[in-house]
Symmetry: C2
Subunit: 371 residues, 2 copies
């Protein structure tokens, strides 16, 4: 067997699984570090069952040509230790540090002239009243760190509710955000190679429920080239400022024809899963191309596509596969409330066919859904 280039991944979840499956045809080999057992990525990667910052993990990852991550809450000192050993880590841990702290992230947006919703820093309970005064009611309280899939946040309508939420969320450092009544949620996937080459996917439209992404439509319907250009300009600023290498997902709100940045993910992203079938090159392959300095792949859409997340538990294989041009991706995770266990992407040449496929799939998904 020819010895392929070794790529290290911090984390062994579904994003690591899809990275490894995308890299296998290119002849890449993968090693992932994850303290869990039977992790999703193990299907196509060597799994080191260890803490991210354990000597065993660091030693194993040091063998890799490049190390990347598949979630943003990687311990900063694990990445730092790899850098100290001259292991190539992409994207740079500095980008991770920005995305790990909502206040720092918002400051970064403002510094770059990226429009975002009004935000106030909440270091203690005393900051709640001024936040309500400045941002109005309702507002959203979010912990600065460790939030995902709607965790670590509350919508509050009064100072009383704000104080209660502040307690419930652990009285940790937070931000307060203006509650924006936006028209729709969009996101853009951007990728920058270590050679500096950049590419952007068309804007996609997302729907969340209970803070969890449910559906992505690609390309986002009724999107002007101006809107696409604005999104690319925001994403470009981030890539440039962060000296970013890899795929980055920027979540946006659209309101009155303008875009407001919500947050960015310094990694491949759930709203880009459609790209496995829906784009000429998937976000997973492009992330690998980028971190290895290979030419980036074509990001143009193959067709209209819709991605539906499977939350809580899988739905029957035969039902999904009975829908034309529908593609199932299960992650090999056990069923658990509100857990992403898989997704389905369906493609169609026109919106009408796509809608028909979507509603058929939605009926199967809803039956199994519990999140």
């Amino acid at each position: 067997m020819s010895e392929g280039v070794l790529v290290g991944i911090l984390g062994g979840g579904q994003l690591g699984r899809m990275l490894a499956l995308a890299g296998a045809p290119l002849g890449l080999r993968f090693i992932c570090v994850d303290p869990g057992t039977n992790v999703p990525a193990a299907i196509a990667a060597q799994h080191i069952q260890a803490e991210y910052d354990s000597p065993q993990a660091i030693e194993a990852l040091s063998q890799a040509e490049v190390v990347t991550y598949e979630f943003e809450n990687v311990p900063a000192h694990a990445a730092a230790e790899l850098l100290r050993r001259n292991v190539h880590v992409a994207p740079d841990p500095a980008a991770l540090a920005v995305a790990q702290d909502r206040w720092v992230e918002k400051q970064c947006f403002e510094q770059l002239g990226i429009r975002t919703v009004g935000t106030v820093r909440v270091d203690s309970e005393d900051d709640l009243a001024p936040a309500l005064e400045q941002l109005g009611s309702p507002l959203i309280l979010k912990t600065r760190r460790a939030g995902y899939d709607g965790k670590g946040q509350r919508v509050v309508h009064s100072l009383g509710e704000a104080k209660a939420a502040h307690q419930e969320l652990g009285a940790v450092p937070m931000i307060a955000e203006e509650f924006m009544r936006f028209t729709r949620e969009l996101s853009i996937l951007a990728v920058q190679s270590k050679t500096g080459e950049r590419a952007f996917y068309p804007l996609v439209q997302n729907e969340h429920r209970n803070g969890i992404l449910r559906t992505t439509l690609s390309p986002a319907p009724n999107t002007s080239s101006q809107l696409q250009a604005a999104a690319e300009s925001y994403a470009s600023s981030l890539l440039q400022h962060l000296g970013y290498v890899g795929v980055l997902a920027l979540e946006l709100f659209e309101k009155d024809g303008s875009l407001y940045a919500n947050e960015f993910a310094p990694r491949v992203h759930n709203s880009g899963h459609f790209s496995i079938e829906g784009s000429a090159t998937s976000q997973f392959e492009n992330h690998l191309r980028a971190i290895l300095g290979l030419p980036l792949g074509d990001t143009s859409p193959r067709a209209h596509s819709v991605m539906l997340n499977l939350i809580g538990r899988e739905c029957p294989l035969a039902d999904v596969l009975s829908v034309p041009d529908a593609h199932l991706h299960v992650y090999g995770k056990s069923a658990r409330h509100a857990r992403k266990v898989g997704h389905i992407t369906a493609l169609a040449r026109d919106i009408a066919s796509l809608e028909a496929r979507r509603s058929q799939l939605q009926s199967f998904v809803s039956l199994s859904e519990d999140g």
Copy 2:
């Protein structure tokens, strides 16, 4: 981790590799048996390093929901032993037996009214003179068993050459075939599920050199619906007659607007590799759907596509990936003369763009090629 359905594969080569990579998103798990070390399929399948008919192999495969194979020269008694243990084997070993013997295969074509080139059975040297008389010169001598990629065959122009070739090929049972000056080589991929559902891919056009497939164009250019219907009708007869379950590839010659069957492969096939990107559902996924009784996937083309085999050794990753919508698949095999080590598929919306991409890729492939 949820326990996925286990699929067994006899053989651990590139076809097993691509089956396992196609099945992973569906949550399938794979076990492959192959006496080799570091086999290509091991990237996404558990590898049992053992002879196909060893007790260890049989025991391991007995755990699978269904066992399939990725090459046709599987020892018949290995399959028979699995059947004796009530292990579900697909396609049925009886189909394998037909494909394993060129004379039996030709008889099968004739019995089903599938037009084929003139063939004479050559049991001994004495049959060579009558064969030349009946079929004319030149003719092709082929061993009845164990031929692939142009091995086990010789074109001969005289009785003297025929006798020499007969000796060289080991004086084993053979067939003599009319040397047809066909217009082009085509093939059709057909799939039948264990539920009886059938699907066909559009005809593709193949080019061989030195007996090895070099290029596949999908869909085959300038193909009438009558030609497609004729190919489907031939393939249907085979699926029906063999009680076939899985993907079957039928190789055809076109001459003066008519189709002549050359041979069939009772498995996923090199001329179907384009389908990973070039079709809504790949041959690999459809084979798995078929043997598991799941609904078959859409076989329609996503675009025009061209598949180029990498023979002998791989070519530089960055060169291939610089071509728009080009997709590399390496098999993790060491370089060796005339060995298939990978393939590239490029897609394009129109024939002109496809030709441009093809000639760019061809220049890289030719540089590395040695077969």
